[in-house]
């Protein structure tokens, strides 16, 4: 009889243990104002911030709380800087959307100073039940003394072998994406340390940055290097650069120069594959170690839309490209006319760089080759028509 009761008690304890492990992880609850043991479990979801950009020096993060069993949940952020707990402060947290028993919160700390090297933070959730009792849950641990420490840095590195891999440089801002380098399998024949470092574009290292034609602002600056040093990669690296986009900037340019170069004026222009305006990421494919600078081109002039090359030879288009009409996007158009005024081609789509006429008739280079001749182009952008002449010969 006693044995049977013991088994039943043991089963209950095991079931309770399974329940706690299933619903409590990765979280915890901890303290009740009046009860010795927690009555219910709240779930806190938050992706740990490992590093905060030392360029932007901003910590922005998102938290989601499932407060089933309670009436409401509010959040606060407790943090201290540089490992010094005497500087501990509590900051209110902004409420986001609430759906049923799930509440989002957004952390946004004041900008860190240039001398700060780390930030340690803890999320404190206050839960209220129907009776008005308040309970507290904590992240990263139910241990109220535990904090998550993020380094304020602008450098990340990883040793990557023959199988490839990703080096990620966190921004510390979860409203935007992180910078990252993806190394394809087969790029390296041995273990190589790949380093990505972000610089202040006005840093002394980049002060020699000349202004390219119509480019007015340097937005972000990065260095990509390896240990041991490699100049050119066997396979191209996919690069995403964080916080590349800003409001009211119509166009970006990515330029490359060698580490020992002193000017950006003759820097190599790198094709931008895409821009994610939500995650504020710039995507490109690079093949060399060195310095990369994102420039913002604003107040575009008519010449910024015109093709840089006015003559193209048919058999060299595959090597040199066609007539590139820059800075155009969906909704813009380019029409090509003969000198007798007859329309022979139209461009309505392209990539991030703009539209390209490859010497073919029809819409978006879909037709036969155009004849040798002088052609008139008319670009329609922002309700304006920009015209010029080009020559296409065989």
């Amino acid at each position: 009889m006693i044995k049977k009761i013991s088994i039943e008690i043991l089963s209950l304890i095991v079931l309770f243990g399974v329940y706690v492990c299933t619903f409590a992880a990765p979280i915890n609850i901890v303290k009740s104002a009046f009860a010795k043991f927690p009555k219910v479990i709240a779930k806190i979801v938050h992706d740990e911030i490992v590093a905060v950009s030392s360029i932007d020096r901003l910590l922005n993060a998102k938290i989601s709380v499932d407060f089933t069993g309670y009436e409401s949940a509010t959040a606060k952020l407790v943090y201290y800087l540089n490992g010094d707990q005497s500087t501990k402060q509590e900051e209110p947290v902004n409420e986001g959307k609430k759906i049923n028993n799930k509440q989002d919160f957004y952390i946004s700390l004041p900008q860190f100073s240039d001398t700060d090297t780390s930030v340690s933070y803890q999320i404190k959730i206050a839960l209220k039940d129907a009776a008005g009792n308040t309970f507290y849950a904590y992240w990263p641990s139910s241990d109220t003394a535990k904090f998550n420490t993020s380094q304020i840095t602008s450098i990340a590195s990883k040793v990557i072998g023959t199988d490839g891999g990703i080096v990620e440089l966190e921004s510390g801002n979860q409203e935007i994406g992180n910078s990252a380098i993806t190394v394809q399998p087969g790029t390296f024949t041995s273990d190589i340390k790949v380093i990505i470092e972000e610089f202040d574009p006005n840093d002394e290292l980049f002060l020699s940055a000349g202004k390219a034609k119509s480019v007015q602002e340097r937005v972000r600056a990065y260095s990509i290097r390896t240990e041991p040093a490699i100049d050119t990669f066997k396979l191209p690296l996919s690069v995403q650069l964080s916080n590349a986009t800003q409001l009211n900037i119509q166009k970006f340019e990515l330029k490359y120069r060698k580490d020992n170069s002193t000017t950006w004026n003759k820097a190599e222009k790198i094709k931008i594959d895409n821009i994610d305006t939500v995650q504020k990421l710039l995507f490109a494919t690079v093949t060399k170690t060195g310095q990369y600078m994102i420039f913002a081109a604003s107040n575009l002039t008519d010449n910024d839309y015109r093709p840089e090359n006015r003559v193209r030879v048919k058999s060299r288009i595959s090597a040199y490209g066609g007539f590139k009409f820059n800075n155009l996007k969906d909704g813009d158009s380019v029409k090509i006319y003969t000198t007798s005024g007859k329309k022979i081609a139209e461009l309505t789509a392209g990539d991030y760089e703009g539209f390209e006429w490859k010497g073919r008739k029809g819409t978006n280079n879909s037709g036969d080759w155009a004849e040798s001749g002088t052609y008139i182009y008319q670009i329609k952008v922002n309700g304006k028509v920009i015209s010029g002449t080009i020559a296409f010969v065989w």
Partner: protein, 296 residues
Amino acid sequence: MVAINQQVQAAFVDTYWGVRALGMGGAYTAVANDSNAPLYNIAGISFAAQKEVTLMGSRLFAGVEGVEIGANYLGYVHPISLEYGAVSFAWSSTSTPGLRREDTFNIGYARELNDIVNLDKEIVEISAGLNLKYLMQEVKFDEEDKDLSTSKGAMTADIGLLAMFSNGIGVGYSSKYLVPADIGYLEKDEVNNVNVLGLSYYNEELPYLKIPYFTIAMDVIFRDNETSIRAGVESYVIDGKLAIRLGGREEAFDIGFGYEFAFANETKLIIDYALELPLQVEESYGSHFISLSFRF
């Protein structure tokens, strides 16, 4: 195979020369009878009554900022005699400063055929002509194509036939660029053969409408597997001194004027003007053409 070759041929689309012809929309193959004939139908030079020299200048697509294209023409026709026919010399050019230009040099000969084919001139006057042409294109290449020579030239020829019936109907045929002319820099680029069939009707006073010295003309052009049509009308008022012209084609509408000043010894000075309004190119208030011709 033939179809493929026809689709991939080249430039030298002769649209922009001869102000009288332009005023009529370029429909001139069955009208050509002056110093503009070398461009439209070489057979027409044998219908020129006097020696004539003409010089044309133009401004294309005025108002379109960033587009600077000029078309110029110098033509001379010299009737020798019925027996020996007529000769002509002409130069035509289309150029965009700092980019590309096309030049064509013409030497032509035409003669009436009535005595050869034994046709009564009271019914029809018929002539045939041959035009030898040297085509040249010159391109200012970008840095990466600096290895290419800037100019390319080639010889070719046109032939023409023109029949003017006594009832006012004219029928013309011109086959241009008959000899393959390769103007390619890196690959074969032969100028398209162009075949033009022209029809015209002339009456000193159009019945019912009473329009004096009236001409209506149409050209059907076959080029690069494409067919296009040009049409125009012309009338001379004020005792035949002032010409008024209208014409057009798919991509443009034309209006033109001409005035003839007569001097002693049957010499004449003719000023012609044509305005072409493009229908597809935007923001242009027209292409302007002016010519000065002297008959002696």
